[in-house]
């Protein structure tokens, strides 16, 4: 244990912790401005924004000796007895001078810069800069060039923090970006013929503390101050990266990674980042429909809920396919509803799309081949309620046996390719087929009841990722008019009052399913490791044996 003093506040640093001045100050609640330092990247100490005064406290005499010059806090280890001063006049002057130097050749085209509003240069200039700009420069136009398919570089906005360069070298290991030229001619660039084309390229835009790197997908689509961000979990694959869903007036404009050291650290892949467009796709189905007299006719949600219960009860043996896109809460409620009607109903896991193989980056970040967020969550529920975990193929075999008379199939996939005509034919012999999905597919067209469902941005609940980590999501936008998020429909079918409450549903599920017991207390922001529960169970079993 060591004690570091930051501006007179004593901070305790653990023996095995390797903190720098910025992190030590953060513990004392003091913000040291910085551009180039990032906790996930190596230290270069090139921006000089984090300059602080540093000294040492003599452990025997208690006398503090300061060193005469200022040092970069990011490069100075916070050891026992280290003293940092971050608020002296000297430090303030240093910051103001760094800001002035950066702004000498900055275009100040903030009105058209997408970073404006979340720009470090803007924020720090207001906080630490001088009142007036002494350089007599008018705002100018920054030349731009493509770095790759996803990112554009606005050359003159760059402050040469080299975060993006270090990212491609240390995190993805692809090293596309580099610094060309020297001194004030320095520029970020790619090697000729080798554009920024790795699968995590979007992260350099988040890393960029200024507006130099622009995301082509987000470019000029919205100003950042209009958007509200909602904590979510990426549903692109089973990694379950923590994200912020940023929306304005029920339209999602971008997804950005949210820090979670257990799952995705600070990053997310491009596939997840740009994989939200289906939420606002033109061909999303809206309005429930019933097959009647050779065609599908529009019906009201209120009549659907009443009819479904009655018709399912009349049908006899039921089967339900739980999509790995459902949240734990939704799957639990659907099981409750189906099992409430037929206690011996067949439950199966929906198709789990697998594309290619897992892709692992040098820093450990993995894009999984399994393109669904909640296979583990559904499996946990199926194991509890069904005993055996049936796959979608197994379910189709069950259909061949003709025991099942009515089936409920939940979808929620990003595309409609999770079933084909052959699958649809397997379901043809049923008395009643209920399909919930976002897009029309062969199975959807064969359904007796077509129920438009929600997308990931509209769901409330939690997912279990590949490492058995239960992570909560909040709905960011409202579903399009005519579509009901699955949770809301099940809530209504179970005749619960009011709107769907994921918290209540989760507590109920956690009380009933031992593997989810930990979630009774609620899910922390960084998720809940369900394996901890398993370990504890194993220990109790071992103890009783």
């Amino acid at each position: 244990m060591g004690t570091v003093i930051v501006d007179g506040i004593e901070v305790t640093v653990g023996d095995n912790e390797r903190l720098n001045g910025i992190q030590a100050a953060e513990r004392a609640g003091i913000d040291v401005p910085h551009y180039c330092w990032h906790p996930g990247l190596s230290v270069v100490a090139s921006c000089r924004m984090c300059l602080v005064e540093q000294g040492t406290k003599d452990p025997t005499t208690g006398k503090i000796t300061m060193i005469p010059k200022v040092v970069p806090a990011c490069q100075t280890p916070a050891k026992d007895g280290t003293v940092f001063v971050t608020n002296s006049d000297k430090v303030k002057q240093c910051r103001a001078q760094v800001e002035e130097a950066l702004l000498i050749d900055h275009p100040i085209d903030c009105p058209i810069c997408d970073k404006a509003g979340e720009c470090r240069l803007q924020d720090y200039y207001f906080e630490h800069g001088q009142q007036e700009r002494r350089a007599d420069l008018k705002p100018f136009h920054s030349p731009k060039r493509d770095m790759g398919d996803t990112v554009t570089l606005f050359v003159d906005r760059c402050v040469m923090c080299t975060r993006c360069v270090r990212f491609t070298r240390e995190i993805t290991g692809t090293s596309e970006l580099m610094v060309t030229h020297r001194g004030s001619h320095e520029e970020i660039d790619v090697f000729p013929g080798y554009p920024l084309a790795n699968k995590m390229s979007g992260n350099v835009v988040d890393l960029c503390p200024v507006g130099a790197l622009g995301d082509k997908d987000f470019m000029y689509s919205q100003r950042v101050w209009f958007m509200k961000s909602h904590p979510g979990v990426c549903t692109g694959c089973s990694t379950g990266c923590n994200i912020d869903v940023e929306e304005n007036q029920d339209r999602v404009y971008r997804l950005t990674p949210r820090e979670n050291m257990h799952v995705n650290q600070w990053w997310m892949c491009d596939e997840g980042r740009y994989g939200y467009h289906h939420v606002h796709a033109e061909d999303r189905v809206v309005g429930p429909r019933r097959f009647e007299g050779g065609k599908h006719v529009n019906v009201e949600w209120t009549t659907v809920t009443a009819e479904l219960k009655q018709k399912l009860t009349a049908a006899g043996r039921l089967g339900a396919v739980l999509s790995p896109h459902l949240t734990v809460e939704e799957a639990y409620l659907l099981i409750k509803f189906i099992r409430g009607i037929d206690p011996a109903a067949v439950l199966a896991l929906g198709p789990v799309p697998v594309v290619g193989t897992d892709e692992r980056f040098p820093n450990g970040f993995t894009i999984h081949a399994e393109k669904a967020p909640n296979r583990r969550g559904i499996e946990i529920l199926l194991a509890h309620f069904g005993g055996k975990i049936l796959s979608f193929a197994d379910f189709q075999k069950e259909l061949d046996a003709k025991t099942i008379r009515a089936a409920w199939v939940s979808g929620g996939y990003k595309k409609s390719d999770w079933n084909d005509e052959t699958t649809a034919r397997k379901f043809a012999g049923l008395d009643l087929l209920v399909v919930q999905d976002m897009f029309a597919s062969p199975l959807w067209n064969a359904a007796t009841y077509q129920l438009p469902g929600g997308s990931f941005a509209e769901r409330d609940g939690s997912y279990v990722n590949f490492q058995d980590r239960l992570q909560a999501v909040k709905s960011a936008v409202r579903p399009p008019v005519g579509a009901w998020v699955e949770g809301q429909l099940y809530w209504r079918l179970l005749e619960r009052p009011g709107l769907f409450q994921s918290r209540k549903a989760l507590v109920e599920a956690a009380t009933e399913v031992p593997a989810l017991h930990l979630a009774i207390e609620g899910i922390p922001a960084t998720g809940l490791d369900l394996n901890v529960n398993k370990l504890a169970e194993a220990k109790t079993v071992a103890a009783t044996v």
Partner: protein, 177 residues
């Protein structure tokens, strides 16, 4: 500003004298003003045959216009600052990369709901490129609500109509061109 601010100067209400307490002198004074205006020059104008005079067009807040630059392109860079400043939320902009090499961003669509607008002039003040300005056109009518939602073309045409009578305010006021 707080009431205990040192720059606040407190003034006591003057005490009423005998004439003040009687009220009658004050009533006579008021009637004298009324009578004077009865016989004085008439201020009323017969609108619309006769147009009232706008005192200072530079500070008048009438219908909006979108200014054009020297090359006849819309000056707006779609920074959304007017929409941000607007207390009535009547400005709606869609931004796009500009088709011109010397500019990055421009407004693909720019609409102002003139019925929603409260003519406070905040948009004009917020604009960093002096693209949106309020003219001294005040007699604004339309046959439907839709007609009163002014789009980019209409706002640019207001500029064409008023540019001769009212040059761009920024230039008159000595700001950047």
């Amino acid at each position: 500003m707080k009431t205990d601010d040192p720059s606040v100067r407190w003034i006591d209400e003057p005490k009423l004298g005998l004439t003040g307490k009687m009220y009658l002198p004050a009533i006579i004074q008021g009637l004298a003003v009324t009578t004077k205006h009865l016989f004085g020059p008439k201020m009323t104008v017969s609108f619309p045959e006769q147009r009232p005079e706008i005192g200072n067009p530079l500070i008048y807040r009438g219908v909006h216009r979108l200014n054009k630059d020297e090359q006849g392109r819309v000056k707006c860079v779609a920074c959304f600052l007017c929409a941000t400043a607007c207390p009535a939320h009547c400005i709606d902009i869609i931004a796009a990369p500009s088709p011109w090499p010397d500019r990055d961003k421009y407004c693909e669509s720019f609409t102002i709901d003139e019925l929603r607008c409260i003519f406070c002039g905040m948009c004009e003040e917020a604009c960093p490129v002096d693209a949106v300005e309020l003219t001294s056109m005040f007699d604004l009518t339309g046959r439907s609500r839709e007609e009163m939602i002014f789009d980019k073309e209409k706002l640019l045409s207001v500029y064409d109509q008023t540019k001769d009578a009212e040059p761009m305010k920024s230039r008159v006021m000595g700001a950047s061109p």
